[in-house]
């Protein structure tokens, strides 16, 4: 089962993104194979009631509509369960915070659903933020044992399509470690996989991913120390695994939703 680490590096207004530098550095320094472009579209809604000035924002609920290039044609819709009390201690790592309930819809229905929520369901949900990665890079290293995706996270530019520095929010880096040596049987691909008790990543894998990322970025001067990081076991993202591509990867989608819910 691959382990995936997701890193978000916020970029201050009017600062350039280091993504181009990183991609060229990695391509030059390592035998990397380019995979199809990396893109995503994330639309975030919060429950309308929680926006009232006197409401308890720690109880806020979220709905995300996420389209990921990893599973073409599929769009994930996730909604967080209502919280009964303020989140316990900060000792809970974000990755294991209340997991969203996910469903999938055809990507063609993402826009109508967004519209429906914005008009007829507005007493429940209010649009909060949209984020996109348009033209990211995906690289496979060491015979696809590692897959690295790097992209600039922006707020959508509207019709004009102009990419200005002002809508840049940060850089997202996904590192997937495809552990081909240890085969763990009994993996289920049904919706039951949402029962996420097995989704946590061991400390070893986390260290491994961080170490790998540091070695990749070594010499570029880019510090990922200030980035937020989330880890999770995900389904195989190996493109050679033909019969799996296009099938929902609930854990990966949850990971992205957890990450993209917060940067503002």
């Amino acid at each position: 089962m691959p382990s995936t680490g997701l890193f978000f590096l916020p970029i201050a207004p009017n600062q350039p993104s280091p993504s181009a530098l990183l991609v060229s550095h990695i391509s030059r320094s390592f035998p990397a194979e380019t995979l199809p472009t990396f893109h995503l579209d994330h639309r975030l809604f919060v429950d309308t009631s929680s926006l009232l000035p006197n409401s308890d924002t720690s109880l806020r609920r979220y709905t995300s509509i996420l389209t990921l290039c990893h599973s073409p044609g599929t769009t994930y819709v996730g909604t967080t369960p209502p919280k009964e009390k303020p989140p316990a201690a900060a000792s809970d790592p974000p990755a294991t915070s209340p997991t969203s309930t996910l469903i999938t819809i055809p990507s063609a229905h993402a826009d109508p659903f967004t519209q429906l929520i914005g008009t007829k369901l507005q007493s429940h949900w209010a649009h909060r933020q949209s984020l996109v990665v348009d033209n990211g890079t995906a690289l496979a290293l060491q015979h696809e044992e590692w897959i690295v995706r790097i992209g600039d996270v922006r707020t959508p530019t509207g019709r004009s399509g102009q990419q200005t520095a002002s809508n840049l929010r940060g850089m997202i880096v996904e590192v997937s470690f495809n552990d081909t040596t240890s085969v763990r049987p009994g993996r289920k691909d049904s919706a039951d996989q949402q029962d996420t008790q097995h989704s946590g990543v061991g400390k070893d894998d986390e260290t491994l991913i961080r170490g790998f990322l540091d070695s990749l970025f070594d010499g570029t001067g880019v510090q990922m120390a200030s980035s937020r990081a989330l880890f999770r076991n995900t389904r195989s993202t190996n493109p050679e695994d033909k019969d799996r591509s296009g099938v929902a990867d609930w854990d990966l989608a949850s990971l992205y939703m957890d990450m993209l819910r917060t940067p503002r």
Binding site: T48, L51, P81, P112, K120, Q194
Partner: protein
């Protein structure tokens, strides 16, 4: 997407003849349709109870609150999860359909097809607005149908703010004529079970003919409808209306098609005072 529609009634005795007339008019055999409908009711947004009272102006803040107030009061609508039962196999489709035609008394012939073991169900989330007000030649309303491919739909909707209320099943025959869908159908009652089971339960499909009818007389409803993606485009709206009125004229000997009663097609949750606690 907008739905333009006319409605009519077909009595049990006229059902077979109507199907034949529609088959002749559309030059196609009826497509047997079975839809499982699960009804979901929105919870009242918690914020409605906590709206700051008017007055006490706070400048900019007040403007935001006003906007939120409008949003929270925008109305609550029932949603449905509609499961279209996919016919098992296209084996000998022609034959099956002929049987369905010749077997057209009040009881239906679906049992022929769904007698097989497990049927696949294609689920989608259905939103239908209340038809637009005013005296219109045809009923018009905003509709939205979002396919749901995978996941735990009931739990999702629960977190989304909608709780399962009840279920029923719609059976009937569909005909297509250009852009128009003609759906002759009736509602059958299903035993009420918990939300989780309702999505999975298809045990009643093999015995559909034994389910109790909502309308004891065995009558059918006929709906002639056209879906228009851009329903605000006056040209398309005009064309859909014209097409439906032409159909109404063509079928007037067989069935009387009229706009629906707006209030009986209302999908809103009645407003009740939430300040009870």
């Amino acid at each position: 997407m907008h739905e333009f529609a006319l409605y009519g009634q077909v009595s049990r005795d006229d059902h077979h003849r109507t199907l034949q007339q529609l088959a002749g008019y559309t030059r196609m055999q009826p497509q047997e349709t079975v839809e499982i409908h699960l009804v979901f009711k929105p919870r009242t947004p918690a914020g409605l109870d906590h709206l700051p009272s008017a007055g006490g102006s706070q400048g900019v803040m007040q403007q935001d609150v006003q906007k939120l107030k409008t949003m929270l009061n925008a109305g609550l609508f029932y949603l449905q999860l509609v499961g279209e039962v996919v016919p098992d196999k296209p084996k000998g489709t022609e034959n099956d359909e002929d049987v369905a035609m010749s077997n057209g008394d009040g009881d239906h012939a679906e049992s022929d097809r769904s007698a097989d073991e497990k049927s696949a169900v294609r689920w989608s989330l259905d939103f239908k607005d209340t038809p637009e007000p005013g005296k219109q030649p045809v009923s018009t309303r905003l509709v939205s149908r979002i396919s749901m491919t995978d996941g735990d739909f009931v739990r999702f909707l629960d977190n989304f703010g909608y709780e399962y209320v009840s279920r029923y099943i719609v059976v009937g025959s569909k005909f297509y004529d250009h852009d128009t869908t003609l759906f002759v159908h009736k509602v059958l009652r299903l035993s009420q079970i918990s939300a989780d089971e309702a999505v999975r339960d298809t045990s009643f499909l093999p015995n559909i003919t034994e389910l109790p009818e909502l309308d004891g007389s065995g009558g059918y409803t006929i709906q002639a409808s056209i879906d228009v993606v851009d329903g605000n485009n006056p040209e398309l709206k005009e064309r859909a209306t014209r097409q439906l009125l032409a159909l109404k004229e063509a079928l007037k000997q067989a069935v009387d098609l009229t706009p629906g009663d707006r209030l009986s097609l209302d999908t809103r949750v009645p407003v009740t005072s939430t300040r009870t606690q």
